[in-house]
């Protein structure tokens, strides 16, 4: 009895662990279109690509690896650092054999929450509902050698044993070339542009201090990621500084402080932003769409798009940004879409798009 009891307990514990960790290999058929989308997304949420793939319709003509790549990312892109956190679904149209379901997705990612809206087609297949999940096949870049001979700036600074009067290399000259304060949804927002006027690259940021009616400092914020931090010579970046829950009437003055540091940098890669256009998305909201083209030979893992919008007087009226969850492989266009304030869409006369590039090998 003394020997049997431990053995029984071990076997029982192993069985419980196995039961808890093992996924059901059988598919619970979706009886409704919305149920199919929800089942698929629940498997995505639990990072179960095989389980999710079981709800993908054969008519999608999508292979399992392509589906996993589309959902969970590849080549170090933003999706590889993301997890589906929340979703909600809404049936747009439902028929006997086909339906349309809108899924609002919220991904938790390394750069914060990323929102995505997908209008999914759901079809009846083998007596259950399955989701059409077509994956865009990427044009393969032919094997080739892309010569890269752009500049790189390195820095040699003054030694610690040098005389106090000895010369050092200075930070680049940067200048705020425009600034526009606006109010939106109870926030006070500073928009503008900053230029690197120097002949060397710089790591720049813009900070702002709000001075209240009594002359006291009431808030201080930085541009954080609403700016291109590394600016090459003569490069211009937009910036946006948000002060949440701040009333303009309580502010007497604003002190802007552009900061610049001399940093080693590379002039590579070159990014093209093609076919930019202001459009309406399926929900009727204004978006700026286009394609990013990496014209160099190095993969950009996480592209970050910044857009500056101007009115007909050339004044900056809004700055918005968005991360693209696909990586930019050389010479391959990748679509992007960033939100535009609907209330400003009619005032937008022109716009300018710049791209920040984060690569695993280096950050620029």
């Amino acid at each position: 009895m003394n020997k049997i009891l431990p053995v029984v307990l071990i076997v029982l514990a192993a069985a419980l662990v196995a039961a808890a960790t093992m996924h059901s290999s059988t598919l619970t058929p979706a009886t409704t279109p919305e149920g199919a989308v929800q089942a698929l997304l629940n498997h995505v949420k639990s990072h179960d690509s095989e389980g999710a793939y079981r709800y993908v319709a054969k008519a999608s003509n999508t292979a399992m690896p392509d589906f996993a790549r589309d959902i969970f990312g590849e080549t170090g892109n933003l999706r590889t650092y993301s997890a589906l956190q929340l979703f909600d679904t809404k049936v747009l149209r439902e028929g006997d054999q086909e339906a349309s379901v809108r899924a609002n997705l919220q991904w938790a990612s390394a750069v914060g929450a990323v929102y995505d809206v997908r209008d999914l087609k759901v079809v009846r297949e083998d007596n259950s509902w399955k989701v059409l999940w077509p994956v865009q096949t990427r044009a393969k870049v032919p094997p080739q050698v892309i010569p890269v001979n752009y500049l790189r700036w390195d820095i040699v600074t003054r030694g610690s044993d040098d005389d106090w009067g000895a010369q050092n290399v200075e930070a680049p000259r940067v200048r705020i070339i425009s600034m526009n304060p606006v109010e939106k949804d109870g926030s006070f927002i500073l928009l503008g542009e900053i230029e690197n006027e120097d002949t060397v690259p710089g790591f720049v940021s813009v900070s702002a201090t709000l001075i209240g009616k009594d002359g006291q400092q009431i808030a201080q914020e930085e541009s954080f990621d609403k700016i291109s931090h590394v600016l090459l010579p003569k490069e211009i970046s937009p910036f946006r500084i948000d002060f949440p829950n701040m009333n303009r009437s309580s502010i007497q003055s604003v002190h802007m402080q552009p900061n610049a540091m001399l940093v080693p940098a590379s002039a590579d890669p070159v990014m093209g932003v093609m076919h930019q256009a202001l459009q309406k998305d399926p929900r009727g909201h204004s978006v700026l769409t286009g394609e990013l083209m990496n014209q160099s030979g190095q993969t950009v893992n996480i592209p970050h798009v910044l857009a500056t919008f101007y009115d007909n007087a050339g004044k900056v009226i809004w700055v918005s940004d968005g991360y693209v969850d696909q990586s930019l492989v050389p010479q391959t266009p990748v679509p992007f879409s960033i939100g535009v304030r609907d209330d400003l869409a009619a005032q937008i006369h022109t716009y300018r798009v710049t791209v920040n590039q984060y690569s695993r090998d280096h950050v620029q």
Partner: protein
């Protein structure tokens, strides 16, 4: 200040001071690092205390002539010698100029900029004392092979400074501060200013895209704008707007814009706009 003057000053000080009592007189060059001599009236030994800006010392001396070695007088300033119930003070000034600490700003400057280069020369003797006496300092700034801008300044209270225009030619400019045999050299990199008259040409690339390329990009003084500078090419057509932030390479910038039957092409670097081209049907 020569020894005669020093003796006169010390004499006057002693006359004015009841504590001096005519017992101690100081002579010597009065320069940092040089010996000084105290004439102490009376006979026998006494204790001499010497207080100065660099420290204090105590020794037993024989009345008469006492030499204070220059090693104890390296730091310029006011010294006080105390003997029994009397004391006297004397000043040690800086030794001749031996070193210039030269601070320049900025290290890079656009060509042909007015009053853009600052230089401050701090004048020191061999013991790191500021040379407070008026001292002529010459400043020279220029890129090799071009005109040198020179300014002569009299240093006051140990400092001489100057504000100069940058030259019209880009390159490493030598900025020299000199006084007598002493000179210090700094390099102020003259760089091209903003681009001037950016002009681009457009042609059809073999793959059908639009190939845009600038002429050599120079500033208004004719200096080549450095490689790596951003030049933005923009194409606007019915499909939307396309932009490429190209980098100047070997003096030129080039990029490929999407194929279009009718587009408006423009070019800019920083806040400077170049020419505009109407491509295709827009002609």
């Amino acid at each position: 200040m020569n020894s005669l003057h020093r003796s006169i000053i010390v004499g006057l000080l002693c006359t004015a001071s009841a504590l001096c009592l005519g017992q101690v007189r100081v002579s010597g060059s009065g320069q940092a690092g040089a010996d000084a001599t105290l004439q102490i009236s009376g006979s026998g030994s006494t204790t001499l205390y010497l207080f100065g800006p660099g420290g204090a010392s105590k020794r037993t001396v024989q009345r008469g002539t006492v030499t204070i070695p220059g090693d104890e007088l390296k730091v310029a300033g006011r010294y006080v010698a105390v003997l029994d119930d009397s004391r006297t003070s004397f000043f040690v000034s800086a030794a001749p100029l031996q070193k210039i600490s030269f601070i320049t700003h900025p290290s890079r400057v656009p060509a042909a900029a007015n009053g853009a280069v600052l230089g401050s020369a701090y004048l020191f003797d061999r013991y790191q004392n500021l040379v407070l006496a008026p001292t002529p300092v010459s400043f020279q700034l220029g890129v090799a092979g071009s005109a040198v801008e020179e300014r002569k300044v009299i240093g006051k209270n140990g400092v001489a400074w100057v504000q100069l225009n940058s030259g019209r030619r880009s390159g490493p400019a030598q900025f020299i501060a000199s006084s007598g045999e002493v000179s210090v050299r700094r390099v102020v990199q003259h760089v091209a200013a903003d681009p001037c008259n950016i002009r681009m040409n457009a042609s059809r690339a073999p793959d059908g895209n639009i190939l845009v390329e600038t002429d050599a990009i120079r500033d208004c003084s004719g200096n080549a704008v450095p490689d790596g500078t951003i030049v933005t090419f923009t194409s606007v057509d019915s499909a939307g707007r396309s932009t490429v932030d190209a980098r100047i390479k070997r003096g030129f910038a080039r990029a490929e814009l999407p194929a279009s039957s009718s587009a408006t092409l423009s070019v800019a670097a920083g806040v400077v706009l170049g020419n505009e081209i109407h491509w295709g049907g827009g002609l």
